[in-house]
């Protein structure tokens, strides 16, 4: 599947429209620098009234044949390879366990009217020559503390398109770099150029209503103000899916996504190609040009 540049632009524009619809900033007035601002500056946690919020919980079901996990050849870094068992290190792109797909970024993509400022810093570790976690979410402006736990050189090369990128070297264990992304962008890819297999994805959204499916495909988004939203689930190989969810105060709304392992195989990383908005399905590809 190949998509031309115009369709990417169209997809990006539509994403922008969705962000605008959910009260997000498209970057027009924000400081797009990747300074160390954010996080701690807004250290006050807004008091949450439990009578106004609910929880979204669900599973990313995976019904198809799970592809075999791809092994990483870490022979160049024996210290890292030693951190894994007999099976050796595996890529974290497609992790299916008990019929659930891990590393899916789930977030409210439309309907959020108001959101508290980011609180605290998010953390990203580099350990045994892999990113931990492989997929994460942050709020726009939130500080990300990126730490090297390996006593060897990693570089963190972030290549967003809506935000400023950065490329920082950490040649030793214990170094922490603080970065942030100023505006919403799903997803920002991070890679280590020293170790070509090391890749992570950061979903940057304007609010704290996001989650990442864990081992077994489970995710939970808590403290969501009651209301009706569009929720989007992103996976690096299987693309994006959307659904409408209604959150009722004091209750948990169950919202499962079903992947067959066929959708969107081969889509381009970080670029949404199918957006389900309510019951409408918008597909961007050559055939629609």
């Amino acid at each position: 599947m190949r998509f031309d540049y115009r369709s990417r632009v169209a997809a990006a524009l539509l994403t922008g429209v969705l962000y605008a619809a959910c009260g997000g900033s498209d970057g027009g007035d924000a400081d797009a620098g990747n300074g160390e601002s954010g996080g701690e500056a807004a250290a006050e946690v807004a008091a949450i009234d439990p009578s106004t919020v609910g929880t979204i919980s669900g599973t990313i079901n995976f019904s198809g044949d799970a592809p075999a996990m791809e092994a990483i050849d870490m022979s160049a870094e024996p210290d890292c390879a030693a951190g894994f068992g007999d099976e050796g290190p595996m890529m974290q792109s497609v992790v299916v366990n008990g019929g659930g797909l891990a590393n899916v970024f789930v977030y409210l993509s439309a309907g959020v009217m108001d959101a508290p400022a980011p609180y605290g810093a998010a953390t990203l570790d580099q350990t045994n020559c892999r990113y931990a976690p492989h997929v994460m979410g942050v709020q726009a402006g939130q500080t990300i503390e990126i730490t090297n736990s390996d006593n060897l050189l990693h570089n963190i090369n972030a290549t967003p398109t809506e935000n400023r990128g950065f490329n920082i070297s950490q040649p030793r264990a214990g170094i922490t770099s603080r970065q942030s992304f100023a505006v919403a962008e799903v997803m920002v890819p991070l890679r280590c150029d020293v170790h070509g297999w090391m890749e992570a994805f950061v979903g940057v959204v304007d609010h704290p209503y996001f989650g990442v499916s864990g081992d077994g495909g489970m995710f939970t988004i808590s403290n969501v103000p009651a209301g009706t939203y569009t929720m989007t689930a992103w996976h690096e190989q299987y693309g994006t899916m959307g659904m409408e969810v209604t959150v009722t105060a004091g209750e948990t709304t169950m919202a499962d996504f079903d992947h067959t392992g066929l959708q969107m195989a081969g889509h381009l990383v970080g670029e949404p190609l199918v957006i389900h908005h309510g019951s409408d399905e918008v597909v961007f590809n050559r055939a629609q040009q």
């Binding site: 599947m1 027009g28 570089n155 090369n157 400023r164 150029d193 081969g266």
Partner: protein
Amino acid sequence: MKSDRLGGSTGLSGPVFLASALFAGMVVQLAAAAQGLAQDAEAGKVVYDLWCAECHGVNGAGDGPAAASMLPRPRDFTQARYQIRRTGSGQLPTDDDIRAAIRDGLPGTTMPGWPNLSARETEDVIAYLKSFSRFFGMGDPPQPMELGTDPGGGPAAIESGAAAYLALECEACHGPSGRGDGASAPTLEDWRGFPIRAADLSEVWLFNGGSSVDDIHTRVLTGLDGTPMPAASDAMNAGVVTPEEVWALAHYVASLGPSQAPPLNEVVRVGRAEAGLPGDGDADSWGQAEAFYFPLGGQVIEPPRNFAPTVDGVWVQGLHDGNDVALRIQWNDPSRSPDPSWDEWQLKVSETLDMDGAFDLDASLAAVDAEITEDEPRGDAEGEVPRYPDRFYVQFPFEIPTSSQRPYFLMGDARNPVYLWTWDSEQGVGAARGRGLASAEELPEDAVAGQATWSEGRWTLYVRRALVPDPEADGITFAEGATIPVAFQAWDGSSGETERRSSISTWYYILLEPPASNRVVVAPMIAMLLTGAFGLVLVRRAQSGD
């Protein structure tokens, strides 16, 4: 901000218009006073469309028609990711940064300097470049990093810098000797996914951001955004290296090669080794032979062309002993081909560089993205990546010309063939007759011999042959004192270089110097004889005349 446009668009009445025009004029003048010259993006568009769009594209996306033949790719201004800055990683460049890049170009890339643009044109085009990206104009203007001042160089600094090179693990990409042969070098990509080389640090004169110690120091701390080269600022702040050691690192890197392109000589002077010829390329006795540098360029005349060759120059030394001649030829190539660890690199290069067709950004991006999609087999029909050896040819005319006429430099033609010393990393050294590119016809009787060794990103090729060819062999005679045309051609198999896709030099000369002792004795004698004869003539004329 021109007053006529201001008046036209607002439709204000006379006095109000005059006042606002005056006010606008004052603002422009104030801005001009503050920044030197005011910038006019619209005027910059004219300059850009004329000079820049061919490579950078009319919309600034780095996708001009010429971009397809370039590695690294031209800058995509829409993302405002500038390699050469004095600001921190991820920050926008200052106007000074952009101005310097326009004026000086980026050595080692296809971006030339534009010193002939007027100051006005330069400022205008800066404004236009910035207009391609929405990042400019957001927030505060970018500020250069606090980079400190150079505490000075010298042997101690260079030694300390070599330690910093290891502490920062520069060799992961740049290799132990800095020739771009680090373990990670074959996997490097720019931010678009196009393949990009780790810089060969021994080619200091080709550094994208300039060759001075100050330039190198800045690149270490700011990184080269859009490339895999990270900023070491956090590592320095974390105490991995001290600020002094970063300066020392810059001195060390600057010491790895000449800051200016090596001077170009026309002639390889092959001295006479009275103590005998070195037996191989590693012999210490090569130290006595002068090394001559010759630049090589991609073969872009006959398709398939090579717009981004790996080998960009070669160092040649020669010695002879009256019976044999030996050459030591050295060139940098980060891969010892064929090498499976460069397969992915080779695929990406062949998919990225469009040698002869029209540039198609979509096709190009789709090709480099194919590693993600894996929905089509790559490589040849069987999905195999063809692995080519590295090769090198030394080329001479078959007939030593008596005038400046030489065979066609691309390995001769049917009428004027060339005599080749060939080397192949799998086949070794041999001789051949060339009648045009990719037409080498082996000369098995030729006695040329030699071998090559690869170490830390550099090939050392040793070739040796008798001055007079074997009667059965179809070679040329190297006569002392004769000036013989010579040219060089190189292939890096791991970048898909094979057949016509090569680096090639133009014709130069090789000269076997007669024995030094002969010169010392013979030259004064000839001078004496000539002087005597001239004297005789003068005397005769005086006697026969009036």
